[in-house]
């Protein structure tokens, strides 16, 4: 039993990271219908930038707390800005183009960012210092939980709820949903659709940057291709939850995390990815637009 609970804790921890990244994916998708394959690499970039800022901060003899605060603010701002620039350069020119052309542009951006990281920070792994974040471990009847895990879990839940309210209850949120349905019609309402898209990219990148920093703090190992793994998992989580749907992304991330650990822990470790995917495919066969995705029946 305690092993089982431990696995669930593990699953929720990794799942909430997927969820955080997946929400960014799903928001951009919701408005742009674009699979932003570069999103994962923004996550990786955030971790690298964060580490650099942190080292600078320590170099200036800032206290731990201030260094971390500095790291979060500078990185989040930088990555949000980066997301905006990425949209401007790589996606906006393709807004009227066939959807898959924008997807290929995103793949190009992913490749460029990933290798850009390698050129700047080198191909070797980088390691986050272990003492940045006060990490306390609790043993609760044999189950080990640490404070970073709880912080990530709470943060992703809070962000999800905040976003959900923002999207569903505010005027700008309604404008965002309208832009997601029909951009031209939204313009006719007086909505600055470009502004909305920029905001969405900034917000999505911001969430990605938080995810990246937590990956840095939690796993502490950075390598230039790490974004691909998190990006792919988050993308899959978003799809499973029903892409475009924020609670769906959260649910998808958690489920993916839990499937992963339960399959690896109880069924087969060497076949865990294959089995996880088999399960996901079965879910899609039953729910073709994801778990919370709306069935878009085509009116004929």
């Amino acid at each position: 039993m305690e092993i089982f609970l431990q696995q669930i804790v593990n699953g929720l921890a990794i799942g909430s990271i997927y969820a955080l990244v997946a929400i960014g994916y799903t928001m951009v998708y919701g408005v742009m219908k674009l699979i932003n394959f570069a999103h994962g690499d923004l996550v990786a970039l955030a971790a690298y930038v964060g580490l650099t800022v942190l080292m600078q901060a320590f170099g200036m003899h800032l206290s731990n707390l201030w260094a971390v605060i500095l790291m979060f603010t500078v990185t989040a701002m930088f990555i949000s800005l980066f997301g905006i620039i990425l949209e401007r350069l790589a996606y906006r020119p393709l807004r009227k183009a066939p959807r898959l052309s924008a997807v290929v542009s995103a793949l190009g951006a992913s490749l460029a960012i990933e290798n850009g990281i390698m050129l700047i920070w080198g191909p070797n792994i980088k390691v986050f210092p272990s003492n940045v974040f006060p990490s306390t471990r609790w043993h609760i009847s044999g189950v080990v939980i640490n404070s970073t895990q709880i912080a990530i879990l709470l943060l992703s839940i809070i962000l999800m709820i905040a976003l959900y309210i923002f999207i569903n209850r505010t005027k700008i949120g309604t404008a965002i949903r309208a832009s997601a349905i029909d951009q031209d019609a939204a313009k006719l309402m007086g909505i600055n659709v470009n502004g909305i898209i920029i905001a969405i990219f900034a917000l999505g990148s911001f969430l990605g940057s938080i995810g990246g920093l937590f990956i840095g703090i939690y796993y502490r190992e950075l390598y230039f291709q790490m974004g691909w793994i998190y990006g792919l998992n988050a993308f899959i989580a978003a799809i499973i939850g029903g892409i475009g749907n924020i609670p769906g992304a959260m649910l998808g991330g958690m489920l993916l995390g839990i499937f992963n650990v339960l399959i690896a822990g109880y069924v087969s470790n060497t076949w865990s990815e294959a089995l996880t995917f088999a399960l996901l495919i079965i879910i899609l066969i039953i729910k073709p637009t994801g778990i919370l995705g709306e069935r878009v029946a085509e009116k004929v």
Partner: protein, 236 residues
């Protein structure tokens, strides 16, 4: 009557397709003007150019003395032009109420009076305010599209084929409403295939043919023009 909208030498193309060429016309404050023309003549394109959804290649669009042809659509809405586009384009997965609220997006605050006015024009919308707009019937959606466009309290309302696909009864209702809207002081520029009916309550009309204005005049003049009757209104 003063001119509220003046269009001069307008030219628009989609890629290599020239949709409008040397379009010049005006709309005066408080009137209903109808654009008539065959399919593909460029009526919709004219409205899209006014509301900024397509950028003209050449020419000027002046609204209340201010040049607007280089502005983004969302800026144009703020100036007081509202467009109920071809095909309704309501936000299907939002509620009726949310659609109306989006119509008032440019307003600082929702004006209760405007909302009441619209609910009076279309009581059905009040009844269905919580329903998802996509599940409304065609006619209801059309009401919503017009109502939504009115929420921004426009000075000029652009209507693109408001009767398309509506039952005869609803068509009458919509046309009556258009008259009412005009009477409340809103200027209207509309496109309508049901030209005969539209001209009956409009002040003036322009006839477009492959991107050019070929004829213009008051409603009576057009309704009695041999050419118009033959080409657009049909014998009978």
């Amino acid at each position: 009557m003063e001119t509220i909208l003046q269009i001069t030498d307008l030219e628009v193309s989609y890629g290599s397709v020239v949709a409008l060429k040397d379009i010049t016309f005006n709309v005066k404050s408080g009137e209903i003007v109808v654009l008539v023309g065959a399919n593909g003549a460029g009526k919709t394109t004219t409205l899209r150019a006014i509301s900024g959804l397509v950028k003209p290649k050449k020419g000027e669009i002046i609204f209340e003395g201010k040049r607007i042809d280089h502005l983004h659509p969302h800026k144009i809405v703020r100036l007081g032009i509202s467009h109920a586009p071809e095909g309704r384009r309501i936000f299907g997965t939002l509620t009726v109420y949310e659609n109306l609220m989006l119509g008032a997006y440019t307003q600082k605050q929702i004006d209760k009076n405007t909302l009441e006015w619209i609910y009076n024009l279309f009581p059905r919308l009040k009844e269905r305010s919580k329903q998802l707009a996509g599940t409304l019937s065609g006619g209801e959606q059309q009401m919503l599209a017009v109502g939504r466009a009115l929420m921004s309290k426009p000075k000029l309302l652009l209507l693109d084929e408001p009767s398309l696909g509506l039952s005869p009864a609803l068509t009458k209702i919509i046309f009556d409403t258009v008259k009412q809207i005009r009477n409340s002081g809103v200027t209207i520029l509309m496109v309508e295939q049901n030209a005969k009916a539209a001209l009956k309550f409009a002040n003036r009309g322009y006839v477009l043919e492959v991107g050019k204005i070929v004829l213009s005049g008051t409603s009576e003049e057009l309704l009695s023009s041999q050419k118009v009757v033959e080409a657009y209104l049909g014998r009978k």
